[in-house]
Amino acid sequence: MDGKICGHVVDTTERVVAEATVFIVASPDIAPDIAALSDATGHFVCDGLGPGVYRLRALGSTGEFGETDATVPAAGTTAIVIRLGSISPS
């Protein structure tokens, strides 16, 4: 399971959000039950994934959240943006 999902968490004004927790809420197969934290640039990485469609949720420090889908290729990386306060496909 060498696939990765990386990306950024932003708010409704497109500003990056640090210290948002990002975790998988739906996966095509088993996925590590570890949660990523966005850094000062809003960047995060979810690692160790098999290929398929995933649903990710980001949770901000004040409870706002956003969700989006991501398709992971076999042993590849896909990049997404999760916008807090919205739920959307990638």
Binding site: T21, D29, A31, D33, I34, A35, L37, D39, D47, S88
Partner: protein, 438 residues
Amino acid sequence: MSMTANEALPHGAAGTGESDIIVDPVSGNGGVESTLQGPDPHAEIGPDGSESGEEFAEASAEDLAAPAGDDSALGDLRGIEGFDEATSTESAESAADGQIPDAGSGLGDGQEFAFLAPLLTTAVSTLASRVGPAIASRVYNRLSGRARRILSRPFRGCGTASVLARVFNEARQRSAESAAEAVDESAVDEIVRAMEVIIGTDDRVRTTETKQSPWRWICALRIEFRTGAVYRGTGFLIGRRAVATAGHCVYLHNQGGWARRIEVIPGCNGAERPFTSAVATDYRSTSGWVQNTQPSCDYGVICLPQDAFGGPPLGSFGFGPFSNDVLLAQPAVLAGYPGDKPFAELWGTARRIKMAAADQLIYDIDSVGGQSGCPVYITHNAKRYVVGIHNYGASTGNSATRVTQPVAQNLLRWSSLGAPTSPSTPSAAAGAPNPAVA
């Protein structure tokens, strides 16, 4: 800085001919475990005590529906606000007369219907439409484990939840071709929210008594890797300076390998850190994980610095390999720090393990990212024993590395890391209990 990827393939430097290892919990704080006397620590557990040759075992419907005994690990959750023991058994979810109990909003008679009716009306009309199968498929992937279990039960009745579940299942059963159709995500969100309100989300409860055992033995983790990636996880004390966790909490192949640093916070309770915290830079895992990313070997240990938390010892979980019969006979507790809650609140729940494979336990115990490294524990002869190290989530069932003989041998060896050695100190030999900490 000492970090090793050692331990013999694929688990530890497991020897041959060693007796089964059952390590009793240590209460810490100068006390003894608050339960009755345990068994002889050298006694075998189960028919043969060694799972390595055991067949795959699956809990029957009767097993899953059986009520928990008074002495099960479920007792740790009784009394926690919001805990409903009835929802921890399959029989409760099938409910009397096939009625699905409405989770509702806790409103009084009449008010519930007024609140739920609009949600039900919208959801039913959407699910009954042409795009209903496609929406139902998307919705199902986002539902909690509890909601999925409820939907899988046969039912009848005309309560709000029963009606919604019936319409939902009918939509899922309609043409598979239409299930692949593109859908309006806002409609999916609406149905998910309706189902969460009407059927309920999950069974987890939060404990705030984190100064007490066993909760103080569970640690929130903030994990930083050399690439700069940061993660949340969970670990549990198995020794004075040893915190067991998932292998991917200490080693990630695509993030530079070993973690750069891990902050360990035992008994973390939101913003409260009752025992302070410690930063660790020394870890162990298995060659099976580090070299081959084998899920069954996805466990490791964080070696704490000396006097990590100050004060008296906190104590630690017991652990050991148990037979399938023992594992499937009672509910197991899974407790840790989920990512859908603020950092770091301790949440847990209990259900029976549904499948015990040779090196893996599979269960419908709700978990969320951030709980990698959680202990999965039972009580046996009035003591708590970790039987699995939680590491993966999946719609078919969450899973843990099962504590087998080689896993227990590693945990035992790691549990004494950093312990002072002297002629008077009992050695951590196979079968020997952890020394009680005064």
